[in-house]
Assembly symmetry: C2
Homo-oligomer: 161 residues x 2
């Protein structure tokens, strides 16, 4: 394996932001990314830190990343959530995805949490197979629900009337 994994530094946020945008394109939500490089620096490296990030590096370039933060389960207590796991196209099949996931699992185990959670698109069969091969439970009966910015505003307008 000709790459290494390390904790992300501020200067990596340019490359991490690029990976975030690549992932959004893959997920057919090209225009959804409102977070900027500056936001990532502030949110990840100034107190209170809102996430923790690992990067995969090859020949001095960032070619993958895993971004995590804590959640709270009313069943299991504090848990780690993996928001994004992304490997650049040229590095697919290199083992970098597995290595990044391993780093996340070691990190979560170090925190003593009882669960690591994440989300997957149900048509992303390669990802689902990969996660299941790692022992994860893809819960096809649980769906994600979101109220977006416009939805929040509409909701508030309705209860005010």
């Amino acid at each position: 394996m000709d790459f290494n994994i390390r904790v992300a530094q501020e200067r990596d946020m340019i490359a991490v932001h690029k990976l975030i945008k690549e992932l959004a394109v893959f997920e057919k939500e090209k225009h959804a990314v409102e977070v900027t490089i500056e936001d990532l620096v502030t949110d990840g490296f100034r107190e209170p830190k809102l996430f923790h990030c690992f990067v995969g590096e090859k020949e001095g370039s960032v070619v993958g990343m895993a971004l995590v933060y804590n959640r709270y389960s009313t069943w299991k207590g504090p848990v780690v959530h993996l928001e994004d796991l992304m490997v650049s196209e040229k590095m697919r099949g290199s083992g970098l995805g597995s290595a990044l996931l391993s780093e996340v699992v070691k990190y979560a185990h170090g925190l003593g949490v009882k669960r690591i959670s994440w989300e997957v698109l149900d048509w992303n069969e390669p990802a689902i197979k990969f996660y299941e091969s790692k022992g994860a439970n893809v819960m096809r009966d649980w769906d994600v629900v979101q109220l977006d910015e416009a939805g929040i505003q509409n909701f508030l307008n309705q209860i005010e009337n």
Copy 2:
């Protein structure tokens, strides 16, 4: 509406824990609740506070609750996640669920976040209809993935070998 909504206090955690267990039974995961009343007091009321909780009260009794915390979206920045929204059986249809959700939306708006997220079981049609009537987007193509405590241990055993 003969109930009121307020921010939960430590002393409410007994009733909140009872509602958490009731919700787990409904979700066919009766034995999944490992969190204790003491955990809820520590995790919700000692620094660092891991969640924020609202309760619905009727005639001095807690009859519903909504439990939230912050997450981080690499697309939208800080977001609010609604972990549990639960109304006791005798209060169903009273408007308490809507009132609790309104409180969560006002709270999230006050924090300036661009999204509120939560999760729903795909067979829970009354909940899905309720959420959609409020303008939420039930994303049936996104599934929840979990690596549980045994899964974390197995994963670590495998990478050590």
